[in-house]
């Protein structure tokens, strides 16, 4: 057989040949990442480079991760051999069209020791982040720190949407801004024209995209593009918060608000001021000044308990305020018929001037919620009569789609909101008072054992939220935590466990989702196996 060899390449390696630039682009499927990588490659081709790009699509249209890998080499001549995969530690430029996707590339270790990193600080949350009620969202500051560490002085992670919007350009052009920044970055430092040309060829929003490209390009060149625009939790200014909240109250309530808040400010510290500035507004808006005074009285009573520290009182006040403004029919109707609500809707939905728009609210009151809003004797009577006629009376529910800005819908909702006047005598109110008393008793009992246990019992108030069955499930979790969880934690602490860790973990499990008591039990079981009580 003929086995003649075809030696493709026998030359010797030479160090002065240019090395291909490696660019890795992280995107979310369906968010224009394909266009961005096309612009990059076409721009490089226009600039006389040779460039290839590979899109790893996955299930791209379905909001999954899509990564583009590009290799480019200046000039023409012998065809280079590209890699089809990015090698960790070997990529010259990372572009993140969304912050978590940038984080994924950074976490993958692709950044070379001289890598430039250009990214968008915008977050597009993943399903897994959105599902838990609390603690699901990935901490952006981790990504920010890693970027700064791995590409010191060679990174720009900016809120591209904000920058283009500020320049009067559509949000979608943010990708072009990122490209401009990338081309001007030390990784490339190329002229802009070939990329303008690529944008023109693509026919995608040409004028605005070129303008956005230039913002990124110019601001990298003149050094005014911020290095990092990933924001942490902005500190809230108590006085500002109070001013805003007070301003939302009616004229005659404002004085009461100021009086109660300034009085409380003397009694409690500045952290408490933040809580009360919100709480007093919510309670007065919900019911009346007296109601806010009731709240303050409860807080004062709790603060006087021996051993009650600031942690406990703050947690108690925070969750008590939410609890006391429980969402009954009257509250929902009140919130749903506010003029501000319709203004906000017009703004958010782009309703212009006197354009006709219809707001349809999806409401699902059940019998318990309806009766709960009525004065107790009336509710009980109605229930008795109802049960005689309908065997499934208690389980009845009434899904309604209410046109709230139509005549009848609005009138009905206003009517329901007036039940606020009889709230204090309503069946639900009485019921909530009993629950609150039970919670307070649990806090006091635990407080007697230790301040930390008391604070945990107070903080457990965060679990109670939701409507209908979700709330019922959450309440069930809540009692299980107080009645079973806390004693078990107490025993574990006696056996050498850490109260902080055990308490915060158990609470975090319950706060993620209603009906999570089995998860908490499993956690405590495992801890009990680990820490054998002495």
């Amino acid at each position: 057989m003929n086995t003649a060899t075809t030696t493709v390449s026998t030359g010797t390696i030479s160090a002065d040949r240019p090395r291909a630039k490696r660019i890795l682009i992280g995107t979310v499927g369906g968010q224009g990442g394909g266009v961005l990588s096309d612009w990059l490659v076409h721009g490089l081709l226009n600039a006389g480079w040779r460039a290839t790009s590979i899109g790893l699509l996955g299930l791209s249209q379905r909001a999954g991760t899509v990564t583009y890998y590009c290799e480019a080499i200046p000039g023409q001549g012998k065809t280079p051999i590209t890699s089809v995969f990015a090698t960790p530690g070997d990529v010259d430029l990372l572009i993140g069209q969304e912050l978590l996707e940038l984080g994924r590339l950074v976490f993958g270790g692709f950044a070379s020791s001289t890598c430039s990193i250009i990214g968008n600080s915008t977050r597009y949350l993943t399903t897994m982040e959105k599902m838990p009620a609390e603690g699901g969202i990935y901490d952006s500051s981790i990504i920010a720190r890693a970027v700064a560490e791995l590409a010191p002085g060679r990174h720009n992670v900016v809120d591209a949407q904000r920058l283009v919007l500020e320049a009067g350009l559509p949000a979608l052009t943010s990708n072009a801004l990122l490209l401009g920044a990338a081309i001007a970055s030390p990784a490339f430092d190329l002229p802009r024209e070939p990329f303008h040309e690529a944008i023109r060829e693509s026919e995608v929003n040409v004028k605005a995209s070129i303008a956005a490209f230039d913002i990124g390009y110019n601001r990298v060149k003149d050094g005014t593009l911020p290095r990092m625009m990933v924001e942490g939790q902005a500190p809230v200014d108590g006085a500002e918060l109070a001013r805003q909240r007070q301003g939302r109250l009616s004229e005659n309530q404002r004085k009461d608000y100021d009086r109660l808040l300034s009085h409380a400010a003397v009694t409690y510290g500045p952290r408490m001021h933040l809580i009360l500035a919100e709480a007093l507004y919510r309670l007065m808006d919900y019911q009346d000044t007296q109601y806010a005074e009731d709240f303050l009285e409860r807080v004062a009573k709790m603060a006087k308990q021996p051993g009650a520290d600031a942690n406990l009182v703050e947690a108690y006040a925070q969750h008590l305020s939410n609890w006391m403004t429980y969402e009954d029919g009257a509250r929902v109707a009140q919130l749903k018929t506010r003029p501000e609500r319709f203004e906000r809707i017009k703004q958010e939905f782009g309703v212009t001037g006197d354009q006709r728009f219809v707001v349809t609210d999806y409401l699902v009151p059940d019998m318990e919620q309806i009766l709960g809003g009525l004065p107790k004797p009336i509710a009980n009577l109605a229930e008795k009569i109802g049960r005689m006629f309908k065997s499934d009376f208690d389980a009845m529910k009434f899904p309604i789609q209410m046109n709230t800005n139509g005549f009848w819908g609005y009138a009905t909702m206003r009517g329901i909101s007036m039940l606020r006047g009889v709230r204090r005598s309503s069946r639900r109110y009485g019921h909530e008072q009993i629950l609150l008393a039970r919670w307070e008793a649990a806090i006091v009992t635990n407080l007697k054992k230790s301040p930390q246990l008391g604070a945990l019992a107070a903080d457990a108030g965060r679990i109670v939220k939701g409507y209908g069955r979700v709330r019922t499930d959450a309440l069930n979790d809540f009692w299980i935590f107080l009645d079973e969880g806390l004693p078990r934690i107490e025993r574990l602490v006696q056996a050498g466990g850490s109260m902080d860790t055990l308490g915060s973990k158990a609470l975090a499990l319950l706060a993620k989702e209603a009906a999570s008591a089995p998860m908490m039990r499993a956690f405590l079981d495992a801890e009990e196996q680990r820490i054998k009580p002495a």
């Binding site: 090698t87 270790g109 939905f349 354009q355 939701g466």
Partner: protein, 721 residues
């Protein structure tokens, strides 16, 4: 039509000798096929080669028709395989395409074609997807090729080489009368690059210039007395011819130096990865030139191997490394056997140091390669392990900066998808009753029901077999059996494999057909349900899913709009109660794929508004003040447009739900909140463009009644957002 090629790209398929084409792997493959003079093309779309079907469909009117190329929208891979029969009986060449899983579906027919042999060339363009993000169970086409006597081409990662291999492959198929499979990996299929092309060739027999007839040939009958003749021709003559031609035509490539003592053998894209790592080691540059002590053999054809070529490469070397990806390790087995037969004592390395399975990513190959180099070239001053270790250290450094790993972004149903309400509805039912039904999932978008937030595809066992996969479970468990299948998969194979089997065997099950009018998973392809071929031409008859089920004798066939939870649930409740009489009950959930619908509706709507017609636009919202942040809605829904934001109440410990502007107003959020009795936070806003006079009066009344906000301190910008 959802195909994605611009007319300028399609025009590049007409390029002449020496012209350049810029495009993805599919365009490159199609161009090479046009240059090969094919008479037919067909296939079933699947990742990562669904774009080959797209390109062919988009090129049909302007290019394929001109060359008289018959284009078939094959109903499944077996039908596509059967199309290759054309080349058994006539002097024509053609190609079909499918993803790697199609090898199994088409196998029966391909085995026949392969045993008999072909005349002018028959090619299968296989989407080879062995990676960690593969949408198939992992497998190599090579094993199938070896077993069925098919030539397997595995081009290195270079579009120009791919272009050449398609053309050479077609010629080798002709000259060895064997079927050839060209593997197209995602890295080649989705690679955009520039390629120099040749002239297109018009086939002698084509749809514009038909043959008088195809000649009968009793010798092609693939059973006794012909079987052994065909088998002997295949293994004594056809495949050895192919092995000879692979070398004569220089399909496998050498890099480096002939007299070198150290050798490396690569195949497919393992070449690119190996070369990159060698360049990082300073033993090669990025143009393919190598250190004088090294020689590399790149196998662009992995079956059949040419024994002499392999033996000659190995025998005079001291050390040889084979970088083979995946299982079974058929290259290594053949090479070691060959060495044993010929008494070659070269030190040979393979899967003893290279990872045995899984995609050979650079960081998985780096240290094994360094180890090999260190052993084969002990004279190197710098330790290869240390050199590559330094590069890879960036990875461990990066990982150490993350106290928690970056969470995965799992794909999910698109915004407004008509399949979401099916699973949301069943999820809510499960939440209310605590009854866990058995969901025999199938292959299609609805397979994503397995992921968060639903977890409602308990099995996923191969295309069309979803319901069939649950027969034993249905018989042996008290659970209600529910299986969801899409219209595309139903026509692909499920009518036979699942429906006929279930009806015939009296399986007790609810069979939900997610009829979204498209084969959506592959990026929206036509199927019989669409009423059109991929070419855009109309289907000859009304292929109705409902009538087919009725024709199969199913009495319970209902059609429902999935966005109407109440109607959907009423039927489900009736079907569920019916378990005493074991039978198949069919629920056809009818609503168009939302992506496709939006592509169609949006421009129409814009036009209508401009023309002054009355248009309603729906979008949903969440009342920030009413939402308490329990996120129960998200756990039943998972819509990409339903997301989170900071709420207006600073005392709340959780962010609140919010709907972004990508909402298409499908109403599922409202239905979910009603069905699961969640909260009163959701509302729908219907904006009316070009309202009539009565509505204008209504708008004024509404404004008067609702009133304007009092002069209050403006809310903060964050809240307004």
């Amino acid at each position: 039509m959802a195909h994605s090629y611009a007319s300028e790209q399609i025009a590049e398929l007409e390029g002449k000798h020496g012209d350049t084409l810029y495009g993805d792997g599919a365009l490159v493959v199609l161009k090479a096929l046009l240059e090969s003079g094919i008479s037919y093309i067909g296939g079933y779309p699947g990742s990562p080669v669904a774009n080959v079907m797209d390109a062919a469909a988009d090129a049909y009117e302007t290019v394929l028709k001109k060359y008289g190329i018959f284009f078939e929208t094959s109903s499944n891979e077996m039908a596509a395989a059967a199309l290759l029969t054309t080349s058994v009986y006539g002097p024509v060449r053609g190609a079909v395409t499918w993803k790697v899983l199609g090898n199994g579906v088409g196998q029966d027919v391909v085995d026949h074609v392969s045993q008999i042999g072909v005349q002018d060339g028959a090619m299968i363009v296989v989407g080879e997807d062995y990676g960690g993000s593969s949408t198939s169970v992992l497998q190599r086409t090579l094993a199938w090729g070896v077993k069925s006597g098919i030539i397997v081409i595995d081009s290195r990662g270079d579009s120009q080489v791919l272009h050449r291999m398609v053309k050479e492959g077609m010629d080798i198929s002709r000259d060895s009368q064997s079927v050839v499979a060209v593997l197209v990996r995602p890295q080649l299929s989705h690679c955009n690059a520039r390629v120099t092309v040749g002239d297109n060739v018009m086939a002698k027999i084509n749809t514009n210039d038909k043959a008088v007839d195809f000649k009968r040939n009793p010798a092609t009958f693939p059973f006794p007395p012909n079987s052994y003749n065909q088998e002997s021709a295949r293994f004594e003559s056809r495949l050895p011819t192919a092995a000879r031609l692979v070398v004569e035509r220089k399909l496998n490539e050498y890099f480096g130096h002939e007299g070198a003592k150290v050798g490396i053998i690569t195949h497919g894209t393992t070449f690119n990865t190996t070369m990159r790592l060698l360049s990082l080691l300073g033993l090669a540059d990025e143009y393919g030139d190598m250190d004088s002590r090294l020689q590399l053999l790149q196998l662009n054809v992995i079956h059949p191997l040419n024994d002499d070529q392999i033996a000659n490469f190995i025998k005079d070397k001291s050390h040889v490394l084979l970088v083979e990806e995946g299982q079974p390790e058929l290259l290594e087995m053949q090479m070691r056997t060959l060495m044993q037969k010929r008494g070659i004592t070269t030190k040979f390395y393979g899967h003893d140091i290279i990872p045995k399975y899984g995609e050979l990513l650079p960081d998985r190959v780096a240290q094994p390669l360094a180890r090999f180099i260190a052993e084969a070239m002990p004279e190197l001053a710098l330790s290869p392990t240390a050199t590559l270790g330094e590069v890879l250290a960036r990875k461990s450094q990066a990982v150490s900066l993350f106290p928690a790993p970056v969470p995965p972004r799992i794909p999910t149903f698109c915004t407004g998808c008509p399949e979401r309400p099916i699973f949301a509805n069943m999820k809510i039912e499960e939440y209310k009753t605590g009854q866990k039904e058995w969901h025999g999932g199938d292959v299609g978008c609805y397979g994503m029901a397995a992921y968060a937030p639903f977890g409602m595809a308990d099995s996923n066992m191969g295309m069309g077999g979803g319901l069939a996969a649950a027969t034993g479970i249905s018989a042996l468990s008290k659970q209600q059996n529910v299986s969801v299948v899409g219209d595309g998969t139903l026509w692909h194979s499920a009518f036979n494999t699942s429906a006929a089997n279930a009806i015939y065997n009296r399986q007790d099950a609810i069979y939900i057909v997610a009829d979204n009018k498209w084969t959506a998973m592959t990026g929206a392809h036509e199927n019989p349900n669409v009423g059109k071929l991929m070419t855009g031409e109309a289907v000859g008859s009304d292929m109705s899913i409902e009538n087919t089920f009725r024709g199969m004798g199913v009495k319970d066939v209902e059609r429902v709009n999935p966005y109407d939870f109440k109607a959907f649930n009423e039927i489900m409740t009736r079907y569920r109660r019916d378990t005493k009489i074991p039978k198949v009950r069919v629920l056809i959930s009818e609503a168009e794929c939302q992506l496709q619908k939006q592509r169609r509706v949006k421009p129409e709507r814009e036009k209508a508004i401009k023309a002054g017609e009355r248009v309603e636009i729906d979008r949903l919202g969440v009342d920030a003040e009413v939402c308490v942040g329990d996120h129960a809605c998200i756990r039943f829904n998972g819509c990409p447009s339903l997301t989170l934001k900071e709420g207006p109440n600073s005392l709340r410990t959780a962010p609140i739900a919010a709907i972004d502007t990508t909402c298409v107003g499908c109403g599922v959020c409202g239905e979910v909140t009603t069905a699961a009795q969640l909260c009163p936070s959701f509302f729908k806003v219907t904006k009316i463009e070009n309202a009539n006079w009565l509505e204008k009066i209504k708008a004024s009344v509404s404004r008067l009644m609702v009133g304007r906000p009092a002069a209050r301190t403006p809310v903060t910008s964050k809240e307004a957002a």
